[in-house]
Symmetry: C2
Subunit: 763 residues, 2 copies
């Protein structure tokens, strides 16, 4: 915002009253979409369109396609990639009084488009994240037609037909094909779109930009307002607390179209992530009144007061040592309101292939489930969309921190002038929208850009632009170029490395990262889900090349991902049926995720973050690293992760999955504690348990831990005895605090019979 | 520059003629400076001031201080730190015709100041790098007085009185005390300052901003011009080649005060660093003419056409391997005009404590010597000043690449709004000036900011600002946040580690860095220099606490730096006099630097850069890592480095300095080749040579190397025989190419007498 005018009025907390309301009128439209299966020159077929939605879904409905989630139906949609489409809507001249204007508003049109009204071309735009606001008033007729031409999806080249096609656009790359996403690229109007009758005098943009003092006891508030024809009007700014009490209510006479009002709030109640306090929200209200004191516009916004920083991870300044000496790692320890917080969370992907059909309700259910999982941070991965407003509103309310990535992922987004111009426009729109949300804790340029498969670097102009944009528009929120940055670890994505055979227990215990911002263990989806996506005749046994592969069970990433039947059966023996395969695969996912989350927590305070890959999925997969199946069905691993993310728990450091009779089993016992509340001392009993036996290995009395501090306990040891069955559990029971209990499943095999020595001698 | 107007005219190479000239008049002023030893309220003593210069030097001259380079005289200046001073000058009304204006121009005033003219305060400014241009016309009287109040030097706090005091200013930190710089903080007018009579119509800023095409066969040129009262005038832009031939000469009528002219140059002769081609320069000329075609202003600028990038170091994308996986290192391979160049160079520090007295001549002598050293890159270290124009003009001409750091070093420059505002202003001034120079190859935020002694991080707002500023104002020049970034190594700074005893031979051979941008081996200065700075009665033996320590021989960095008499005598035995100590210390410096430069070159192509710490020094030191003593006197190490930086040379990988009779000496033999020219195959003879003997160890016939590619040869081996004397040389003789010869000095000791076995048995 350029500060053309500066109106200053300072006031302290007052008590007065006003009612928020708006006088604008909204008109929803009926849309059609025109398409031709042949080519762009052919006559178009016009069908009803759902707005917001996706053209693919409209056509599928009209043409009676089978559901895209089923079998290999997604392949039916391929032809639409290179077509252009046209939305159209007609309406009669609405009643417009005085100086009011008729605006066409769209919060998002995907991806390249041109808007004409009554034959006049009003806008060409590339970019789905920049909202459209067009004044139609001067072009109005009695009968009106609005056309939106949607260009074919952006492709940097024809071949290879994969994510690299998205490397010169700000279109999310995921829909070009990912290891858990089919090749199915949506286009169309994807966010709220309507006509609005609005007074000529309008606040068009506003931001309650506050700065907390060092002690967090006072907020300096700049209410930055931009609008049209504001002069000679009055603006009233008020601030209400969560109970609706009005704390500030002041009015100024406006003399310019851009202004900054100044205020101050003493002792603000701070916004906290849900596991550290209340996500307290105030409501700001900007009211515009005309000379007759009639309120002509009200702009409400919730505000959470919080200070967010990325500070150096504890101990990280101690490295490197010796000479020649490079730099220290990059900080990734989140600090909220002066408190260092261990971030437990997950990687969020589009909850739908078609972002136009994501609803507030769907966001809410998924965010509620994230809270249920004891997560406090969602990394919104850069391969997908930047989420809609509802997502951020809900995260604000529910106390979930968000790491927002710009739509760059796993490509080298070369900084051509054309690309940078679109990225500048899109990033400005994204930042100005999301900076208002206290939940947004980290900006990131995108996913895995500094690795060999992407080949962007610190020199990449796209990332330098994003850093500059975030610095200029939202300097109080941390920005990182990508994930991983120096010090952060990504992976592993399988329970057992395909080449080395190393299990995640070991690879995690070897690692020393400041944060683990991606790690995944795949599992098959439940049999119920599999039956909805895989035709019965393909269901058993799973094989590559058909619906299983279309749903990512084979050839998805590397090796036999994501089903990994071979590895599962290597641990458990050949599966007799689908149920057994799924059960065993899900069991491995549970144990793998527990091992990683808990090891990451043991590495605190140097380590500050653990986010699994991934949380959810945009369609039902046959096998995936997700812990919540589409649309929102928890896998068993969800509950395993939920347990490992409890603020306080007893934890055992497991070193491998399968144990043989006679092996020396050593278990470091920990009390993991991320809480700043008082945690009482107690006693942990460590047991080895089978269906028929229970052996106590250790009893450990621990003292009350320091806030946010783990306690490293003793090591329980046992030579694995002869056991019944093929598995056993390590159970940690915490006296009086069963909510801290943990258990781990391990596999067992009896001692192998020795080859007879005589046989050896005979060789 | 905001593009208020865009005038486009495209033209190709033409041949016409015009003479560059300017009609502006310059008036030099006589200055006095007023000071009070007591306090700011006392009556000031007025003395003659040298402008540009430094107030400290004016006072020293007036008060007959001893030379600041001698003994501990620098301590006399301490009182000036907290004083304010006033410059004054008087002049009669000059003849001014028509609409002409009288401007006060200063290219640099250090550091915080206020300018008044005839009693009217015209400017307050913090920052020495932003030039001043004040229109005095409306305040002119018959007799005029211009006053510049210089505020006390910026100090963030009173204690500790060290570089941390500079951490909230854009004042170079070095003068607050460094391990090779005394505490002596200059203030005053430090760059060209004068009155100028100029027409109202003026080009005030211009930039010939070109873009080379991929093939480097064509330059699109935008001549970006900003000025005052340009409307209704004509601007002629012409481009001449180095021979003075006019290639373009076109005239436009101007309709706005900001404009961009567009042109194109086919087949530009490219600018190259001196060791890879000609540093070819064109001359751009902008001429402003009034309606009568009278030329009223000419702005000339040299232009070098070159494309500079930092690309990934060869092989660097192969790491990291395994999971969890962090990012790959940051690129630091310089590529000029599509050619990867191994950067050999050095760290440049202020050539004077008082930047106001640095002359063009002094710059030229030092830059010529850098060329002589086979250097192609100077890192202008961020602890010191950003150099004056003459420095960059000379580097342009002589084909030396420059790495320019902003004035941040070894501090945590906290991003307070006040600091960021000054940094924004200063960085804009710096970038807009230096971006015009083809020699400027890298922008860097500052020195060692991402290490524990500085504690800045990727999150530091100051660095995010600098990245943003460089991106917006000069995106075609690479920017790095600091040195070292991830992958680069700094250090070691001594020949042998004080704790581990490891020599640089070994630490460098262990290392694997993308670049070595600081490494130092100290040596004493020559006896002649020592005699000019250390009083005779202190000269021998050196001791701490007096002039030796003031000149950095003791307690300068860590341990007994920089003299390190103990280490020297550990290798060579007790020095009988100063001459011997100096000779032996300088010998170690020679061998150490050779080892490092040549090992860095052996690590090519992964390694791309070797810059020693440091090149020069701002005053005569008693001992320092520099290879050129103040003001420009080469140490023996200068010639050693010059040899190690030859484009092509035979090189032996030495593993330690001191050898004992019977040791197994193994020498990997290399042909180091940074040249893109054809290098013929040949034969290298490896010899062990003493004053009395010569043994041939190996003959190696090598083939013609690929461009810019080393050849790893065989290993010469010998059990060190019984030798005469206490040293020997390894000599590499290249048949027919004596210019490739190399030699290395090693120390020798005869076999120790064995303790008698009987003695052992008796224990």
């Amino acid at each position: 915002m350029q500060r053309l005018a500066l109106i200053i009025f300072s006031f302290m907390i007052l008590n007065s009253n006003t009612a928020g309301q708006t006088s604008n009128h909204f008109i929803l439209l009926n849309w059609e979409v025109g398409y031709s299966v042949e080519d762009d020159q052919s006559e178009k077929t016009w069908i009803a369109a759902s707005v917001p939605g996706a053209i693919q879904l409209d056509i599928a409905r009209a043409e009676n396609y089978g559901p895209y989630i089923y079998a290999e139906n997604w392949k039916d949609y391929t032809w639409m990639e290179d077509q252009s489409f046209t939305y159209r809507t007609s309406f009669k001249r609405p009643d417009i009084y005085g100086d009011d204007r008729l605006l066409f508003i769209s919060k998002g049109i995907d991806y390249e488009f041109e808007i004409s009204f009554n034959g006049t071309k009003l806008l060409y735009q590339e970019g789905m994240f920049t909202p459209v606001s067009l004044d139609l008033t001067n072009f109005l007729q009695d009968n009106n037609e609005l056309l939106i031409k949607i260009f074919p999806i952006p492709k940097m080249h024809e071949e290879p037909a994969d994510r690299t096609q998205a490397a010169q656009s700000v279109k999310p790359a995921v829909s070009y094909l990912w290891d858990w996403h089919p090749r199915l690229v949506p286009v169309g109007i994807w966010d709220d779109t309507y006509l609005e009758i609005a007074p000529q005098t309008q606040v068009t943009d506003s931001w309650v930009n506050y700065t907390l003092n060092e002690a967090l006891t006072s907020a300096e508030i700049n209410i930055e307002i931009a609008g049209t024809e504001l002069c000679d009007h009055q603006i009233t700014w008020s601030l209400k607390d969560a109970e609706g009490k009005i704390l500030v209510n002041e009015t100024v006479n406006v003399t310019a179209d851009e202004l900054i009002l100044k205020s101050e709030l003493q002792d603000p109640t701070l916004w906290w992530p849900h596991d550290h306090g209340d996500p307290y929200l105030y409501t700001s209200s900007i009211q515009v009144a005309d000379t007759n004191r009639n309120i002509i516009q009200t702009v409400n916004q919730t505000i959470g007061f919080r200070k967010v920083r990325l500070v150096m991870n504890e101990g990280a300044w101690d490295a490197p040592t010796g000479f020649p000496k490079s730099r220290s790692v990059a900080p990734i320890q989140l600090e909220i309101n002066g408190r260092e917080i261990f971030s437990k969370g997950t990687n969020w992907v589009n909850p739908e292939i078609f972002p136009g059909i994501i609803t507030r309700y769907q966001y809410e259910e998924l965010i509620d489930r994230a809270v249920e999982a004891n997560f406090n941070l969602l990394r919104v991965w850069g391969g997908g969309i930047v989420n809609k407003e509802a997502f951020y509103e809900l995260c604000d309310e529910k106390g979930i921190m968000v790491w927002t990535e710009f739509p760059l992922a796993c490509n080298n987004y070369e900084g051509t002038p054309e690309y940078l111009a679109v990225l500048r426009q899109e990033s400005e729109s994204i930042i100005k929208r999301i900076r208002k949300h206290p939940s947004n804790a980290i900006w990131s340029g995108g996913n895995e850009l500094f690795n060999s498969w992407s080949r962007m670097t610190d020199q990449s102009l796209a990332l330098r632009l994003l850093n500059a944009q975030c610095f200029e528009l939202d300097p109080k929120t941390p920005y990182i170029n990508t994930s991983p940055i120096y010090g952060i670890g990504h992976g592993h994505y399988v329970f057992r490395d395909m080449d080395t055979g190393e299990e995640v227990y070991s690879s995690m215990q070897r690692a020393k990262s400041t944060a683990y911002t991606e790690f995944g263990i795949p599992s098959p989806s439940s049999v119920e889900i599999l039956k909805t996506i895989i035709p019965e005749d393909e269901l058993w046994p799973p094989k590559s090349g058909g619906s299983w592969e279309s749903h990512h069970a084979f050839n998805a990433w590397v090796g036999d991902t994501w089903l990994m039947q071979g590895m599962i059966e290597d641990y458990f023996g050949k599966s007799k049926d689908l149920d057994e395969l799924v059960m065993n695969g899900q069991l491995i996912q549970c144990e793998g995720y527990k091992a990683i989350y808990e090891e990451a927590r043991r590495q605190k305070p140097y380590c500050s973050m653990a986010l699994n890959w991934c949380y959810n999925e945009p369609w039902p997969t046959a096998a995936n690293n997700s812990i919540v199946s589409y649309p929102n069905i928890p896998k068993p691993a969800f509950y395993a992760v939920q347990n490992s993310c409890r603020p306080v728990l007893a934890s055992a450091k497991i070193t491998k999955l399968k144990w043989r009779e006679g092996d020396s089993l050593a278990l470091d016992i920990w009390l993991l504690n991320d809480s700043y509340e008082e945690v009482k001392g107690g006693k942990i009993l460590v047991k080895l348990v089978t269906d028929t036996e229970e052996m106590e290995l250790l009893g450990w009395e621990y003292n009350s831990p320091e806030p946010n501090t783990n306690i490293e306990g003793p090591t329980a040891r046992i030579k694995v005895p002869k056991l019944e069955g093929d598995r056993f559990k390590i159970v940690l029971e915490v006296e009086d605090y069963p909510e801290y209990n943990s258990e781990y499943l391990l596999l067992y095999e009896p001692k192998r019979k020795r080859r007879k020595k005589t046989a050896l001698l005979n060789q």
